[in-house]
Amino acid sequence: MTALLQQPGYEEERLQRVAEKLPCRDVQAGLLLSLMGQPQQYSFPSIFIYGHRASGKSHVLQVLLKELELPHATVSCVECVSVVLLFEQVLLSFFGCDAASLLPRSPSLSDFVRVYRQQCSQSPAKQTRYIVMEKAELLRDTDANLLPALLRLQELVEDNVTVILLSEIVWDKFRPNTGCFEPLLLHFPDYSKGELQQILSQDRHPSYSAEFYSSYINILLGVFYSVCRDLRELRHLAALNFSKFCEPLAEGKVKDTDTHKLWRNIEPHLKKAMQTVYLREVSSLQWEQMQQMEEKETGTVRGLSAHTHVELPYYSKFLLIAAYLASYNPARTDKRFFVKHHGKIKKTNFLKKNEKTSNHLLGPKPFPLDRLLAIFYSVVDSRVAPTASIFSQISSLVTLQLLTKVSQGDLLDAPKFKCAVSLDFICAISRTVNFEILKYLYDFL
């Protein structure tokens, strides 16, 4: 195993430690090491590493760079709300805070390059410097010149520096259409079941034996592997459910070698966890409380999605109903639904054959404000004055995200809205005001 991690220029002992910290990723680590070469050697200008979430990309790099004590800067692109933060962090970790303060206000890329060159002429690199960019896919949303420049930063600053990009998506989705320097691509495959088992077994509980914990992980994977392969999630679940697993042991009912009995005990519990805590219906804290409470009271804790009931003022309900009708009925059918004596429109004529597709499958359509109000006045049973609060209710429905405004721009110019609630929701709402909405929906005629 350690045979793979051999590279002249590094201490044997350190490489050994790295190998221990990186189970199941020795191939990738070895490849990276050989790419990096000896500390003082120039490395490839940019390396692009991709793989699914929790496949060890950041971990491998962190361990390598930290253990081998290489100069590096790690930046998460999520955090860089502006490029200046990125520049600063890089300069800070390579040259100290004096260098970072040399950057002007709102610096451009060339400012960064200038400061970098100036600094590295004072303290040239003895070892390859590494810039690790996590969540590199966000770089696509920044200035168009940033990504190409980072890819050939080595040339630009004339320093021994390598940029390593980490991402969850493939390089093809990055390539700018103007063309750029192609980085070296490196794929981190997902962990297999066996590998997951091996990694998870490592963080065992200090007061239990390694075999016991490993058998627990085995059972856990048996339940969860089909739905979740995310190492972090699995680790989280393992930690949450372990106490329950140990329960019969603590009570002295079962010996720690009797895996079958332990499995029988924990399996329904894990199944339940899959439906609740894995989906974050209940929080992990509540889950722990539920474990302590036992079965009798667990019914009291309801998941997040169980609370869908929304209380609204009376007219807001009708406004929402009117918005729903306006969103899902074609405008030309309004006359049929809302005018009392709409003449003799035969149902057969009225239903166009080519409009077979359900409006509910197509999703909500935008409608203008005056249509909403016209429908509102005809569905609400009493006479309503067009007061200011009716209009403010519309805007508060928008802030509650029950309606969405489609057209931006000034309100005078006939704003358009869409209704953003589901059929179930609107049915529940209309039931509370005794309004039979299905009678007014074109799709359910």
Binding site: V81, A239, R280, S305, D370, P386, T387, L400
Partner: protein
């Protein structure tokens, strides 16, 4: 040599301090006040009452919020302590950010107060580091960051790509200026905690059991989660989760709709970083019920609302905004209006004060009393001699007024307990004939004589069918309601109730004997029923059965039950008469519902249309008077243009409109219809027309369109 120079200058005249003095509240109140002589007393009374109402509602609010806030505080404390546990499981999931989802309901205007008290409480008892953010100030991630950092660190945070606040920065300032990243916050937090740690060295190690003051959590409150841009929120949470090991963060989400919004807004990858716990606040209708209970259904406040005003306020609450705060604002408005417009409101105060104030009434005030409809009715009922006395003798009137005021206070003292009793009796009846909520019953009682109401009759009928144990519990509750009331009549009523209850208890002992004879009388017609097949016969027997049941002898329980119901009925009849029947009710009751509605539920659209179609309504200029539906040609330009545009269809030809306008205006200028330049468009008219049209566009009646050249589109429908 002559030099002439012209100099231009700009001189500033500071207004003298005396002139600048803004009139105080009192001056505003007294200005334009009805019956100015005692307006100061009225202002004082009004002010005192309002202060009391305000203090009471605030106390109530705190009381109501206490439960949820307490559980929230517990949660925050628990989170900050578990973080410091070094136990294995806690370490394994330390990367989750504890999050409280606080469901507050849609009454958004009320939330501010809740959040304010929440963050105050948090700062007092959990952590000094609390920041609350609102969606409208956090459009982008960097703004959110900036707000959070600013509020936590109490410093200016520079956003590097914002040029607006460029100042000459010296190099030292440059160092001090803070960058907008969590890294900075982290450093700041560590420095802060270290500082306090060094202040009390060694303490941290010694008492690790209690929640550690050295590591207080950093609480961020998102006031309105729904309005946040999901993208921004996701990124922020992602960033925060990177620092959670160093920075004990904690979130509180304020949710207006339902907790499932969290799942709509955040993908699994993000929500898995949170440890969400749900907290549900009291529903706003319950909140309103308590406020009404404490503020309105009590004799403590002399100021009362009439049924119509009450109706307006409640319907605004239920139909429009669900906001308790606005409801209280409505009460405030009514209060001020009452004291402002009713000169006799000097008597609207505590009994003692009112009695004193009666003696100080001036002649004009007494005349006003004589004009009161309720007082006139009272006078009519008196004997002739007394009538003349009342209308002529001021001192006698004062004496009578004292008596009447006392009566009014007595009436209120008895009204509310009996109202509550009636409510407890009827609120559980099937189909709720008198309403589920006590406010509904209160409205019925305010409106008209409740015992003449059909629903009341049916409720009484239903009461006569109650089972024994139900009836007994209801009566016991009534007795409890009457318990604390200090009034002779109520005490008497309570004694009577207790007697009735005692009788019920006695019944149990004699119940067994009567059982058998009752059954006999019932069974015989039922037996006959089996034989009949004819419909007519069946009907006849059923009628007979009905007869027998009616005439059937009642058993002691039923007798007693009827007695109880009659007793309740007599209580209602003697104490729940509508306030209008009370003499001098105008002193306490504010009844102008139109004023309240006009102020609280404005109709801008109707006002604009009223202004445009009948400018006389606002301008009060006699030349603008015109018959219904037409506009005088002397009206402002915009009114004429508006009137003309009503005659058009969806698209309006601008030139035709201009011509029509010019004709009307020419007539207004007094030009003879046959003269040459009648209806001719000159530059001035053209300009005036264009201004009128653009004003209409500004008001949203028309807009420019590309459908047809030289046309504008109408945005309203209908016309003359």
């Amino acid at each position: 040599m002559s030099t002439s120079s012209v100099s231009k200058g700009c001189f500033v005249f500071k207004p003298s301090a005396k002139k600048k003095k803004t009139p105080s509240l009192k001056d505003y109140f007294i200005h334009g006040c009805e019956g100015a002589e005692d307006s100061e007393t009225r202002f004082q009374l009004c002010q005192n009452l309002w202060d009391k109402i305000k203090a009471d509602t605030e106390a109530l609010q705190d009381e109501l919020n206490r439960k949820i806030l307490d559980s929230l505080l517990d949660f925050t404390r628990k989170c900050s302590t578990t973080r410091q546990h070094s136990d294995w499981a806690a370490q394994m999931r330390a990367s989750e950010i504890p999050t409280a989802a606080l469901v507050l309901g849609v009454n958004v205007p009320d939330h501010d107060m809740t959040f304010q008290s929440l963050s105050d409480l948090l700062q007092q008892s959990v952590s000094p580091h609390v920041a609350s953010v609102q969606a409208k100030e956090c459009g982008a991630l960097k703004h959110l960051m900036k707000r959070v950092l600013e509020r936590l660190m109490d410093t200016e945070v520079t956003l590097d790509d914002e040029e607006e606040e460029v100042t000459e920065q010296t190099s030292t300032q440059l160092h001090n200026s803070v960058h907008c990243s969590l890294e900075t916050l982290c450093d700041w937090y560590i420095a802060k905690t270290k500082k306090s740690f060094s202040g009390t060295p060694g303490k941290k190690r010694s008492s690790p059991g209690r929640d550690d003051p050295q590591q207080p959590p950093v609480v961020i409150i998102f006031k309105d989660l729904e309005a946040f841009n999901p993208r921004v929120l996701q990124d922020f949470i992602l960033i925060c989760s990177r620092y959670i090991q160093r920075l004990p963060l904690m979130f509180i989400f304020g949710i207006a709709t339902s907790p499932s919004t969290i799942q709509h807004m955040l993908p699994h990858s993000v929500s898995s970083l949170l440890c969400i716990e749900l907290f549900q606040s009291l529903s706003c209708t319950q909140h309103l019920a308590t406020v009404i209970d404490k503020l309105i259904l009590t004799p403590d406040f002399p100021f009362k609302l009439s049924d119509k005003v009450m109706q307006v306020l409640i319907s605004i609450f239920l139909y429009h905004d669900f906001s308790v705060r606005n409801f209280i604002k409505g009460i405030q408005l009514a209060l001020v209006e009452h004291f402002h417009s009713q000169p006799l409101s000097v008597l609207c105060c505590k009994k003692k004060e009112a009695l004193l104030n009666v003696m100080q009434l001036s002649h004009t005030d007494l005349e006003r009393i004589r004009q009161l409809p309720s007082f006139k009715r009272y006078v009519e009922k008196q004997e002739l001699q007394e009538q003349t006395n009342l209308t002529t003798d001021d001192t006698h009137l004062k004496e009578v007024c004292r008596k009447l005021i006392k009566d009014l206070h007595k009436y209120h003292k008895n009204y509310y307990p009996i109202l509550r009793c009636l409510h407890t009796m009827t609120s559980a009846l099937p189909r709720y004939p008198l309403g589920k909520q006590i406010r509904e019953l209160h409205l019925i009682c305010l409106e008209k004589t409740v015992w003449e109401n059909e629903d009341y009759q049916s409720a009484m009928k239903l009461l006569k069918m109650l089972a024994k144990d139900e009836l007994i519990t209801l009566l016991q509750r009534c007795a409890e309601i009457l318990q604390p009331v200090k009034s002779k009549k109520m005490k008497k009523a309570r004694v009577h109730l207790e007697e009735l209850l005692a009788k019920f208890r006695q019944l149990d002992t004699v119940a067994a004997e009567t059982q058998s004879c009752v059954e006999d009388s019932l069974i015989s017609p039922v037996k006959n029923l089996g034989k009949k097949t004819d419909l007519f016969q069946l009907q006849k027997t059923l009628l007979e059965m009905n007869e027998t049941r009616r005439s059937k002898k009642l058993n002691p329980f039923e007798l007693l039950r009827n007695e109880v119901v009659e007793f309740i009925d007599s209580l209602v009849k003697s104490h729940l008469s509508p306030p209008e029947t009370q003499t001098l009710n105008e002193v306490c009751y504010y009844s102008s519902s139109t004023a309240v509605r006009r102020h609280l539920n404005a109709t801008p659209r109707t006002s604009i249309q009223a202004a445009l179609s009948s400018p006389y309504y606002y301008l009060q200029n006699n030349s603008l008077k015109s018959e219904e539906g037409s506009v005088s040609n002397a009206a402002p330009d915009i009114c004429i243009a508006y009137k003309l545009h009503l005659e058009c269809g969806r698209l309006i030809n601008l030139y035709d409109w201009l011509e029509a306008y010019a004709t009307v205006v020419s007539a207004a200028e007094g030009n003879h219809p046959d003269s040459d330049n009648f209806g001719k468009v000159d530059e001035v008219k053209h300009a005036r027309f264009i201004r009128a049209v653009s004003e209409l566009e500004f008001l949203g009646f028309i807009k420019s369109t590309k459908k047809k050249t030289d046309h504008v589109a109408r945005l309203t429908w209908g016309g003359c």
